[in-house]
């Protein structure tokens, strides 16, 4: 765990950002409070961050801050679902999901006019995994059912979606964290997808079309 931490000083050196920016982003909750880890070091108390998470986040903020205001960025990074709901035609027109995926979703869940953010997230993840070829159609059905039934319980948390396979039989589940999970040797991890990244991607996709 210790190897994965980066000190504040090192972070500023690597990314080239200033103290002012870092503190401003902290105020706007672009960097979550629990990433600031206080530890004592030989120079007194120092602040550390989880190395991979913080560098990825800072890079993203730097890349996106020209297009979006800080408040909009804060919205992108928050794990809370957006308020928006869209109609099926809008989803297709705005190129958020393809009509094929949407048809599959409708086939499973029945026809509906308005899609909430959670519904759209489910369709978006379905599309992403189907396109990458990691998910079969039958597993897609499983995904939609699981997401629709259980996603609400994880809303606002940083959940993960996991798919494992053993001897051609697949199991899919949602969990708050897949860090501490061990299986017997025949099990293969097929997919491990943090929901928060998909939420970020989807929010960005929905934002850029609005402008």
């Amino acid at each position: 765990m210790d190897d994965d931490l980066i000190s504040k000083k090192e972070l500023l050196e690597i990314t080239g950002i200033s103290y002012g920016q870092l503190y401003r982003w902290k105020r706007k909750i672009l960097i979550p409070e629990d990433w600031f880890i206080r530890k004592s070091s030989y120079t007194g108390q120092e602040t550390f961050f989880p190395r991979h998470k913080i560098i990825a986040r800072v890079d993203k903020i730097i890349n996106m801050k020209d297009d979006l205001s800080l408040d909009e960025l804060a919205d992108v990074f928050s794990p809370n679902a957006g308020e928006t709901s869209l109609r099926s035609t809008e989803l297709i027109e705005r190129n958020i999901v393809s009509s094929m995926t949407l048809d599959l979703y409708v086939e499973i869940q029945g026809k509906q006019d308005d899609f909430t953010f959670d519904n759209i997230l489910c369709i978006y993840i379905l599309e992403k995994l189907l396109k990458s070829g990691e998910l079969s159609r039958d597993e897609g059905v499983m995904l939609v059912r699981t997401m629709e039934e259980h996603y609400g319980k994880l809303a606002g948390k940083n959940g993960e979606l996991v798919l494992i396979r053993k001897m051609g039989v697949s199991t899919l589940f949602l969990t708050e964290s897949a860090d501490q999970m061990y299986f017997d040797t025949g099990v293969k991890w097929v997919i491990r997808l943090p929901l928060a990244t998909s939420i970020e991607e989807l929010k960005l996709k929905m934002n850029e079309r609005e402008e």
């Binding site: 050196e13 200033s18 002012g20 503190y23 401003r24 902290k26 105020r27 108390q45």
Partner: protein, 242 residues
């Protein structure tokens, strides 16, 4: 939407009174008032003693006597001329303190102006923080612009931001000439920012791009990136360029 369906009425307490909370237009308390629950109003004015046992939501809050809010306070504007205590978190766009305010948790704001005394046990986060008085912050003071005019001893655990300027407000007076223990200083463990300009500060570590250390400072370690200015009258343990 809900507000339109429900007409807001005024609440006036003159003398001694107790109310259970609710939704009001203007709340005015002259005397002693106690509000037993959550209150939602447009303007909250008190000229006497008031206690809110629940949360407070208001557009403006004006206190000239004493006030105590036990729940969270969500305000747009607050002007405190008397003494106030907030036990829980406070969110307020603009804060003006001329009296004495204690925040039991943290304060989140846009603009904080202190002419009196501010005490916070948690963090204070805002865009501009200007003080001509006294403050004690138990956590982090995180502000874009920090402008401190020392008038009384001040302290914070950490200060972070873009511009940080600490100045002494008045020239040394009577007490200081008698004994140095009365000297007015800013105490902090860490100060980190882009532009740091300090006077009369007692800090463990100062880190910044452009650092200027004026008279009367005691600092263990200064780390700077671009420029440094050290006053010969200040004590700096070590100074490193990174």
């Amino acid at each position: 939407m809900e507000q339109k369906q429900q007409p807001r009425n005024d609440l006036n307490i003159s003398g001694i009174g107790r109310m259970g909370g609710g939704v009001f237009k203007d709340v005015k308390i002259d005397g002693m008032g106690k509000i037993g629950g959550d209150i939602d109003c447009l303007a909250f004015t008190s000229n006497g003693t008031v206690g809110v046992e629940g949360s407070l939501q208001a557009e403006s809050m004006n206190i000239n006597g004493t006030a105590k809010v036990e729940g969270t306070a969500t305000l747009d504007k607050m002007v405190i001329g008397g003494m106030s205590t907030f036990d829980d978190n406070v969110y307020c766009r603009s804060v003006v303190i001329n009296g004495r305010v204690t925040f039991g948790e943290s304060l989140k704001s846009d603009k904080v102006e202190v002419g009196g005394i501010l005490k916070a046990k948690g963090d204070v986060q805002c865009e501009t923080f200007s003080v001509k008085g006294h403050f004690t912050i138990g956590g982090l003071l995180n502000a874009d612009h920090v402008d401190i005019k020392l008038n009384l001893p001040c302290s914070a655990q950490e200060i972070g931001g873009e511009h940080i300027v600490v100045r002494k407000w008045k020239s040394p007076r009577f007490w200081e000439q008698i004994q140095h223990g009365f000297s007015i200083r800013l105490k902090a463990h860490n100060i980190e920012g882009n532009h740091i300009d300090l006077e009369y500060a007692e800090v463990d570590t100062v880190r910044g791009n452009d650092v200027s250390i004026g008279p009367g400072c005691t600092i263990r370690l200064v780390e700077y990136k671009n420029t440094i200015h050290l006053d010969p009258e200040s004590k700096v343990g070590s100074c490193v360029r990174i």
